[in-house]
């Protein structure tokens, strides 16, 4: 009798215990998030912390490995190579950080950037950063392909407030990254923190960025975009001035057939930037299958009024048949209908995004004509994943619980 009761009890409890212990979404549990945040590398002493990999122009052969120290220190280097038989290859290279300096407004914290080049495409590189003899764990990332293979990217914006939710989304990204070798990078659409001039806010963001690193040490290189809350010098100090000082616009050849154009909606949209955009799209369109643009302020917004860049950029998007535009700033989920000449048009441009990497969500103005079905809107923390294939480009929105909030397929033009 006792054995029978015990068996029944076990049968009843096992699923409950498994759900708690082996949950597929442990980041939904506040205690788990708190524990993970306590384990983050502290920014103290002369050891490295806040490690990150940055991609800008040629990610198949180049990357910038960056980190923070709490002291100026004297020797800052990165050791990198291809791992063989569990160890860093004997021919692993050592590179001194080319750029180091004090973070503006910080209390003695320093940034270090080591720009590595001559990498092999589609190759996993292991690296460890070292400051004055103190080392980071061995981490790794995979370079972008130089052939037409399928791969995935994550997109998202607005991680500026909702620090716990930001940690949760980061853990979700790490989970997606861990399960998926084809997922190679993450493009952030801007508004990392509330005040771009506040080092303490950036420091929290940078430390939390460690949560996107998987248990095996896989780092998702970040392709940065400047948002309206990211003013001031810290953005360039953190991301090694992507696209050049005062510009922060550039294009990334993620593969020979996929290009991402990162624009800066926080500087003049006309003039130099518009002309650069025209020349870049003119050059890229005949070469690539998938042509994407990312910028912060939406030109087809789901919450606010259209960004001033609309007049300067949208005619070029339409002229050069952009495949997808990724926007942030609105704090919602949205996907517009294809738009051309201010009208719904099957040959038009689809605009997605609006930001949900932790920031509290707003209510989208779903009655706007360009958000009607087959467009969509929603409000939830999320990350976007895009699969770049030969036959189609798959776009999906993934919520914190791992569920899919939106899915859309694009076909080559």
């Amino acid at each position: 009798m006792k054995i029978k009761i015990l068996t029944q009890l076990l049968l009843f409890l096992t699923p409950l215990v498994s759900i708690k212990v082996f949950s597929e979404t442990p980041w939904l549990d506040q205690k788990y998030v708190e524990t993970r945040m306590e384990d983050l590398a502290p920014v103290k002493g002369d050891g490295p912390s806040q490690w990150r990999v940055i991609w800008t122009k040629e990610p198949s052969t180049k990357a910038t490995i960056s980190w923070t120290t709490a002291k100026k220190g004297s020797g800052h280097k990165v050791r990198y190579g291809i791992r063989s038989e569990g160890k860093l290859n004997e021919v692993g290279k050592i590179l001194e950080a080319q750029r180091s300096g004090a973070y503006s407004g910080a209390k003695g914290q320093y940034y270090h950037h080591a720009r590595i080049s001559g990498l092999k495409p589609s190759t996993t590189y292991h690296f460890e950063v070292e400051s004055d003899g103190k080392k980071s764990p061995v981490l790794h990332f995979t370079t972008a392909p130089s052939d037409d293979r399928e791969f995935r990217l994550l997109f998202g914006g607005d991680s500026r407030t909702g620090i716990d939710a930001r940690a949760q989304v980061n853990l979700l990204m790490a989970d997606l990254s861990e399960k998926d070798d084809q997922l190679i990078a993450f493009a952030h659409g801007g508004d990392y923190i509330v005040s771009g001039r506040s080092w303490s806010q950036w420091s929290t963001w940078l430390s939390q960025h460690e949560l996107t690193v998987t248990k095996s040490g896989k780092v998702l290189p970040i392709i940065p975009t400047r948002g309206n809350h990211d003013g001031g010098p810290l953005y360039d100090e953190i991301f090694d001035t992507p696209g050049g000082s005062g510009k922060n616009y550039f294009h990334t050849m993620i593969s020979p057939k996929v290009a991402l154009v990162t624009l800066n909606s926080e500087i003049s949209a006309g003039g130099d930037q518009q002309a650069w955009l025209a020349k870049t799209l003119f050059d890229l369109r005949p070469k690539v299958r998938w042509l994407l643009a990312e910028y912060h302020r939406p030109v087809w917004p789901a919450v606010k009024s259209p960004g001033k860049a609309k007049k300067f950029w949208v005619p070029l998007f339409e002229k050069f048949n952009l495949d997808l535009a990724i926007e942030s700033d609105g704090h919602v989920i949205k996907r517009t209908v294809p738009i051309r000449n201010e009208k719904k048009d099957p040959t038009g441009i689809v605009y997605v995004g609006e930001g949900g990497l932790g920031v509290p969500q707003r209510i989208p103005k779903s009655n706007r004509w360009y958000l009607q079905s087959p467009g969509m809107t929603g409000s939830d923390h999320h990350v976007m994943r895009v699969v770049f294939g030969k036959e189609k480009m798959d776009y999906e929105v993934i919520l914190l619980d791992g569920k899919q909030a939106d899915h859309y397929e694009f076909f080559p033009r």
Binding site: R197, H229, I267, G270, D272, K308, F312
Partner: protein, 288 residues
């Protein structure tokens, strides 16, 4: 009392309140969840305050116009309505400017908003004061209020021009593109694009050169406008012209559908124009 204090504290600390509509939604959610039954979805009420304010602002603007013509009796209900409408029209742009500054910490351009938007709240405040205290001696005080309002607006915009506010650069480039043609959109070949790059760079350079000059002009105009004991009509007229030109540039740069951006800035030229008219009429009265 402490309940309200807590709620207000929550409202201001909540990162959700990053815009005035956002603030309204948050107020709606906080208070709505307290006083309404639990089945009432806080999000539904959250949308309403934004629309309510929009509706009241439109209503108040219309009412102020109508009541201006009707000139209701001092003790009448309509006069009180007039006061209430003018009060709302004064407080709304004032708090919008303050919030714009507060919710964008570290942004130098938004920090100028309380000054740059000064005419927007100085104009209804002047009307309110004139309606409440119509004695002749108060006219001079109201005139100075308007002078300071115009000065604030020109200083705010002048600082943005001096710091090369990106949207100001685009106002000049967009207006040049309208009148001289946009070389980027008309380019069809690589050579055209090379040429467009040069033209675009030169227009950007012109804009970035012009803005500091405009800033200096703005500061000089303010200094002359605020000269004690002086009423320089030419300065008021030039400020009116400049105020209208810069307000209209929102349409010339971004398209005619941006008429609302001009409407929002109508006081930038309107108040200096009023000062010019006022000073002219004072002079005419003196002569007669």
């Amino acid at each position: 009392m402490s309940f309200y204090a807590t709620k207000i504290d929550l409202v201001f600390k909540d990162p959700y309140c990053d815009s005035v509509p956002g603030l309204c939604r948050q107020v709606g959610r906080s208070f709505g969840s307290q006083f309404l039954p639990s089945w009432f979805d806080g999000w539904k009420i959250s949308l309403r305050p934004g629309y309510t304010i929009w509706f009241f602002l439109l209503l108040a603007s219309g009412a102020v116009l109508v009541l201006g013509f009707l000139r209701p009796e001092t003790s009448s209900v309509l006069r009180k309505v007039d006061f209430a409408c003018l009060g709302l029209l004064t407080l709304w742009p004032f708090f919008t400017a303050i919030f714009s500054w507060l919710i964008n910490p570290g942004n130098p351009f938004h920090a100028t908003d309380p000054a740059g938007h000064a005419v927007r709240y100085a104009a209804p405040l002047a009307l309110l004061l004139l309606t409440a205290f119509p004695e002749k001696g108060n006219l001079r005080r109201v005139e100075w209020l308007l002078r300071w309002g115009v000065a604030g607006t020109f200083v705010g915009h002048g600082l943005c021009a001096l710091w090369l506010k990106p949207s100001f650069v685009d106002l000049i480039i967009g207006t040049m593109n309208l009148f001289l043609g946009d070389p980027v959109f008309t380019a069809v070949s690589f050579q055209d694009l090379e040429e467009a790059l040069t033209i675009a760079a030169s227009r950007q350079a012109i804009a970035e050169l012009a803005l500091p000059i405009i800033a200096i002009q703005d500061f000089i105009l303010v200094a002359l406008l605020l000269l004690p004991g002086k009423r320089i009509k030419t300065i008021a007229l030039w400020m009116a012209v400049w105020g209208f030109v810069t307000a209209t540039s929102r349409m010339t740069a971004y398209g005619w559908e941006h008429w609302h951006d001009l409407a929002l800035r109508i006081c930038n030229g309107g108040i200096p124009l009023f000062l010019w008219f006022h000073w002219n009429s004072m002079e005419s009265k003196k002569i007669s």
